[in-house]
């Protein structure tokens, strides 16, 4: 049986990694605007430049963001023991958005650069995560009450986002609108490298925590009785979630439903054990967002649908189905 679980985890890890690699390799070649593959093979402009400077970094950003949002969703579902807990439903995504929008709107000068928006989004996510975790632990809020609190936090944050949007000048207002639509635009490779350096260690830490996440999903009393310091793990887990959501949201804007759809779909396929689910969520989430982004830039080409719209159009019906089948 030990071998069974280990083999199953390895098999799922291999298959989900393969899915991520295949989508990451294939999807940059797919797009609405026709690409001259001869030019690409000869490394000639403009196709080579489009491929290397636009499509590849965009695919890598989608891969990292999908992985981060998906594993954060699985993490919150374990910590709160609620299938509906996600970065969005807890208000973390909207708080990160508020941080980023505040930086874009009020940063002196033309435009706030990546580090400023990034730090502001992380700070927004961290404040809300600390608030939610404190309510859960100090006031003993149930996961249901925390999710209701998340709805209130969402409302407050999005109202402030709208307010700041109105207060910002015309140029910054356009930037905010574009950012709020949520999209995986091409970014520079150093930004991708920084994002990877932040996200990957957190993902590895979560993989190592997955056996403990199993027992935490049994409830605090049971986990504490099995030697788990639930208070410490919960705080650490929420901090990890804030880093994952804040650091990706700063670059892509809010992208809804990835943290909901991917863990739930995978849970139905690979089962509830987080030792199997977490690696699947990391690579499956990455592959899912790469595919969504490819759909977004292909179906109405040369126009582009923001990837946040695609994930929401897929995720909305899924969310209703989930509520229906609970």
């Amino acid at each position: 049986m030990a071998a069974d679980l280990r083999q199953r985890a390895q098999r799922v890890l291999f298959l989900s990694l393969l899915a991520a690699v295949v989508t990451a390799v294939v999807c940059p070649f797919v797009g609405g605007s026709g690409m001259d593959y001869g030019n690409l093979l000869r490394r000639e402009a403009p196709d080579w430049n489009i491929f290397v400077n636009l499509r590849v970094p965009r695919t890598l950003l989608a891969l990292l963001t999908g992985a981060a949002l998906s594993v954060a969703g699985a993490l919150f579902q374990a910590l709160l023991r609620d299938a509906l807990a996600t970065p969005s439903s807890l208000g973390v995504s909207s708080a990160a958005s508020l941080g980023a929008v505040t930086a874009i709107a009020f940063y002196p000068g033309d435009a706030a650069g990546f580090p400023v928006v990034w730090v502001a989004a992380l700070a927004g996510a961290a404040v809300v995560i600390a608030f939610v975790a404190a309510l859960g632990q100090l006031r003993r809020f149930t996961s249901f009450t925390l999710l209701l609190t998340g709805i209130a936090v969402n409302g407050i944050c999005m109202s402030l986002v709208l307010l700041f949007h109105n207060l910002a000048g015309i140029t910054k207002s356009f930037q905010i609108t574009h950012w709020l639509l949520g999209g995986v635009d091409a970014v520079e490779y150093p930004v991708l490298a920084i994002l990877a350096l932040v996200i990957l260690p957190v993902c590895i830490w979560l993989l190592r925590l997955s056996r403990v996440l199993n027992v935490i999903s049994f409830g605090d009393a049971w986990a504490t009785g099995r030697g788990v310091d639930t208070r410490r793990i919960t705080w650490q887990g929420f901090a990890a979630g804030a880093i994952l959501v804040g650091s990706t949201t700063a670059i892509t804007g809010p992208i809804a439903f990835v943290g909901l759809i991917v863990p739930h779909l995978l849970r139905r396929v690979v089962g509830p054990d987080y030792r199997v689910l977490m690696p699947a969520a990391i690579f499956g989430g990455g592959a899912f967002l790469v595919i969504c982004d490819t759909i977004s830039r292909s179906v109405l080409a040369p126009m582009e649908i923001p990837v946040g719209v695609t994930t929401a159009l897929l995720g909305g019906p899924f969310f209703v189905w989930l509520l229906w089948s609970r």
Partner: protein, 256 residues
Amino acid sequence: MSLLAVENLAFAYPGGANVVNGVTATAERREVIAIAGPNGAGKSTLLDLIAGQKQPGGGVCRVQGRDTHTMERAELCRLVAHVPQSIPVDIPFTVEEVVLTGRIPYGRGLYENSDDYAAMELAITRARLEPFRTRRFSTLSGGEKQRVLVAAALCQQAPILLLDEPGAHLDPKNEAQLWELLGSLRDDGQLVLVVTHHLALAAQNADRVWLLEQGRLVADGPPCDAMRPADLERVFHVPFHWHQNTEGRVFLTYGR
């Protein structure tokens, strides 16, 4: 040095009166101790304090002479296995996987090792879970779930076992088997503390009874001493009677 010693243990919820109020007692290996008392007497809270689930407002709890609040959680859980009154019923794991959670205090590796699986097999056998070991926990009856949780605590292989109303969902046959199991654990050298409202079963099966009233330990001794009818009537506000049958066995009944 006692295996378990609680000294002047106290606990109160914020802004409330003491739920546990100056409890002092000791317990040794090879004992089954029933903790009895009316609702709200502090039985479950006392168990939570011993298990380290709650921080005492006063006093100290020692296991093998060491203050439990100076111990790492995993270390404490290798000495004390606690089955709380309730846990979520919709856990999507199998019986085997639930039982294996008892091995968490022994290592934080990603996968269980052969010792863990050996302990699981032993616990499943002792709790008679073989027929449904691969079934999902959420599909079991209340009584079966209770046995699985007890098995998980057995899998923890701690010398002290704390059970909070383990017979709550059990039919008479399963409850009798549970008390048999507790007796065999006692014979193997374990200390078992069990919160129960089934005083008649406690009277027949426990070695000692701790009788709690409003957070205080009002009696501690063998059932016939700790459960004198006058004391029980004062605590529970119902008359109790001891009876003896022709074979010499004694029984406790209550009611007018």
